[in-house]
């Protein structure tokens, strides 16, 4: 059996860690992916763990050629798109930004040099895939490879190094990267290079992407590629770069890059500038488009998540093969609206009388009597979950354990449509199943609730490395929790924030970070789903935080951020750290 059958793929939350075959087997292709397989420049936006790396990797030729989907096979067969994948990893970027002594020109030149080497390495990997796919005869393939690599290595070394295989040329590129860094270090220490020494890899000091284009030209001839063939350069994790690097990349988005097309992934608000080095900024829609991956519509969410689970389970060890989400978790009592039993003397109405405002209760009574259909929509649907949750939390302060954060629909919702988050949640449940003695299905609701609350707590804990972010999320979450558990309920349940254009730069930066990390989600305009709000907009709290704050994982009614800032918490804060976040309100916000 293939190795992947023995592996628990739920333990692999990061697309980087999947083998090529695992990636292909577990990939769920989507309209966003199809959009990317085009000759437009795209900037793919998505919070951490939203699947950007998976999309970018799947565009690369060696992955795409394995994807058993018609349009993908057609693209590969007809040589319409050839993708190359470059990861702009943190550790790679860390070697760029650690030279504060360089002036702007030197920094740019060094970035371009390193990116030239990195993209050429990516090209070599893609050429391996192309040779394997398009030249079936082994002998012929070896001959073509030898001739092609000889030409490319001659070009990339100005004739000083000639290689016959892709592997040898890859090693050469890896070596010159290291040698150049060492030469820079030596020059820093001693003030100069060694006698007679030149910097390594001088051909890569050429204009950005020029060595890559040369390689593509030679490959096009060797592989007989059609004129209309587009080379997709997928640059992953561009959020790790600086503004100056983005400006350089934008210059190439703006220019006519011929058969080279750019697919750049980054986190929301991390396309740092529209400027280019040509003096003219990028024009959205003309030079590039955003593709904002992320939360699907509620209707698509459950089916998509079920597919995610099933694909992983199918590619994992045998003990997971027959498990479905429903079997594992059962249904959610909180998320599934009960068939309406909202009669005047029902338990629901008793709870409503207890927890809501008098006008709300009176209105509910009138609607039930006079307009039962409206009552279903405006009362039952809106209040059902909130009432159950409030009661469950109240009762759990006694002896009863909380069991309300349970069920398939709850687990899915707490995943925020974020593949990495969902895989981790699933893994937590499966680990519990394997650990339990009786392996009973579904996992006990109280246990599910414990797992989700702990998961939620750990997610919030991670934000402590940014004191302001942690404090910000605590403040919002505590407010929403107070609204649900300490104040009379109204039909406008507060679960989202409304940010005005007067928000201070400092707080806006925190909001951006929260969106980047997937703890706040912009409520998007359906007419422009790929555009992010800037300094004014509505955001809902990541549903992953709902169990921790014991609030409903729903968008709810947006509340002005300024209202939240003025609120004095009614609940005890579970964890606080010092941070004068709201001491630095803008004058306008202070005056509100």
């Amino acid at each position: 059996m293939p190795e992947s059958k023995y592996r628990n793929l739920f333990e692999i939350e990061n697309a980087r860690d999947l083998t090529r075959q695992q990636m292909v087997d577990t990939f769920i292709e989507s309209p966003d992916f199809k959009r990317l397989l085009s000759s437009k420049n795209h900037i793919v936006l998505g919070e951490r763990g939203s699947g950007k790396t998976a999309l970018a990797k799947m565009l690369s030729h060696d992955h795409l050629s394995l994807l058993q989907v018609n349009y993908a096979q057609q693209a590969v067969q007809d040589k319409l798109f050839i993708g190359m994948y470059v990861s702009i990893k943190t550790e790679w970027v860390s070697g760029l930004r650690n030279k504060p002594w360089q002036d702007e020109r030197e920094k740019e030149a060094f970035f371009q040099w390193r990116l030239n080497v990195a993209t050429c390495l990516a090209l070599l990997k893609t050429l391996r895939s192309c040779l394997d796919r398009y030249i079936r005869d082994l002998q012929q393939r070896v001959i073509v490879e030898r001739e092609l690599i000889k030409q490319i290595s001659e070009s990339w070394s100005e004739g000083s190094q000639l290689y016959a295989t892709i592997v040898d040329l890859q090693r050469y590129l890896e070596d010159i990267e290291h040698i150049r860094q060492q030469q820079l270090a030596r020059k820093r220490v001693t003030g100069r290079l060694r006698e007679g020494e030149e910097f390594a890899g001088i051909p890569f000091d050429a204009e950005l992407f020029e060595p890559l284009r040369r390689g593509i030209t030679l490959a096009t001839r060797a592989l007989n590629l059609p004129e209309e063939c587009k080379w997709l350069l997928c640059l992953d994790e561009a959020e790790t770069l600086d503004t100056v690097h983005h400006r350089i990349l934008n210059t190439y988005l703006r220019a006519d890059s011929g058969n080279l097309v750019f697919k750049i992934t980054t986190t929301p608000y991390s396309h740092y500038t529209q400027d280019t080095n040509s003096g003219k900024p990028l024009i959205y829609g003309h030079d590039y488009e955003y593709v904002y991956i992320g939360q699907n519509s509620i209707f698509e969410e459950k089916e998509w998540v079920k597919k995610l689970f099933e694909k992983r389970a199918k590619s994992s060890a045998i003990e997971f093969q027959d498990i479905t989400l429903e079997k594992l978790l059962g249904r959610s009592i909180l998320m599934i609206p009960k068939k309406s039993e909202w009669t005047l003397d029902s338990e629901e109405m008793t709870l409503l009388e207890k927890y809501s405002t008098k006008p709300t209760y009176e209105r509910a009574k009138r609607l039930i009597r006079e307009e039962p259909e409206r009552a279903k929509d405006e009362i039952a649907r809106k209040f059902h979950g909130a009432l159950l949750l409030r009661k469950a939390v109240e009762v759990s302060h006694g002896h009863k354990k909380l069991d309300i954060f349970s069920g398939v629909e709850m687990a899915i919702r707490c995943g925020d449509c974020n593949p990495r988050r969902l895989v981790r949640i699933f893994n937590s449940f499966l680990t519990e199943l394997l650990r339990s003695e009786d392996k009973k299905f579904p996992i006990a609701r109280t246990k599910q609730t414990d797992i989700l609350i702990e998961f939620s707590y750990n997610e919030l804990e991670r934000t402590k490395s940014s004191a302001q972010l942690y404090e910000f999320l605590q403040t919002i979450g505590t407010y929403m929790s107070d609204c649900l558990h300490k104040m009379p309920l109204t039909s406008n349940l507060s679960l989202a924030i409304d940010v005005s254009k007067d928000v201070s730069d400092e707080i806006w930066k925190v909001i951006e970070k929260a969106v980047e990390w997937g703890y706040l989600f912009p409520i998007r305009n359906s007419n422009h789903p790929d555009r992010l709000p800037h300094k004014k907009g509505r955001f809902h709290l990541g549903y992953v935080l709902a169990p921790y704050f014991k609030i409903m994982p729903r968008k709810g009614h947006p509340i002005p951020l300024s209202t939240i800032q003025r609120h004095k918490p009614l609940s005890k804060r579970l964890n606080t750290i010092e941070g004068p976040l709201f001491d630095n309100l803008s004058a306008e916000e202070s005056a509100m």
């Binding site: 070697g95 504060p100 010159i176």
Partner: protein, 321 residues
Amino acid sequence: MKINKVTDISDDIQQKHYDVAFFACGYEQRSTYIPRLLNRENVNKTIVFGYKDGRTEFHREDNDKYFFNNWGQEPIIVGDNDDTVVYEQLRELDLKAKSELRVLIDYSTMSRLWSASILNWARFLTDSSSLKIDFLYAFGNYKGDFQPLIIEDILAIPGYEGSPISDAPSLAIFGLGFDGVAALSALDQLEPNIVYAYLASPGAAEDYPAKAKYCNKTLINHYVKDKLLELPISSVEVTFRSLTELISPHRGKTNIILIPMGPKPHVLAAMLLCLRFEKEITCLRVRGKRAPIVDVEAEGHIVATRVHFKPEEPSQEQTIA
């Protein structure tokens, strides 16, 4: 120069002779603990780097006066994230005609960028046939609560970039201290394929290992699990050797990244490992701020390590024709 040997040595430094000694002058009382143990007559040349920030905090003014009065040196002011001045001073050192060079570095309160710079200088030295650097570290008592680190950036130490360009899987080795959240944040950013960690045990205090495990429980429980090493804080030699053994099976197959966030002797071991296998390992530093600052007093114990460098064979150096 290449690292030939890393050994623990006696902390009895009173009688030892050095061609040059490097000290750091900050606000901690600990800044002058080791210099006070030395005999000034036994040191030919002294260089004292003084932190640009905190010049009126705690013991800083006293420490400045101490170095001036006792070592004839006004501290050379340097930003803690700046190595320019450090290299200027190093380039001015006149060490010709010394077949064996003996250097002392008191890194108790030294910025790791400064100590890394001195190590860079050592590896590119061509004037001597033997270089021995004695690293000294004084354990400290923190006179206040340990403040969490707020991360500003993750950078490779200059000269310790390794070669992370290949798409080989990445292996991250975290040196853990009390900055659990910062370590987790760094892990989130790096997203390595394989994660190991090590922490000091025995540590500077009896409860150190338990405290470090508690601070890093999420990272340990979810990412490291059984790949946690416990290494003595007082032996750089053992830590260096253990880390060498740890990476051995992964060399040539992974991009190895070291993120030492624990006590300074462990940071030193990590930097030395990176120098030893320079192409294969990236050594990162997590730059950030703590507030408020606290004073640290020396508690009496010293970790002493000797690193012996020898000239590199011509064939060992990689060049491009």
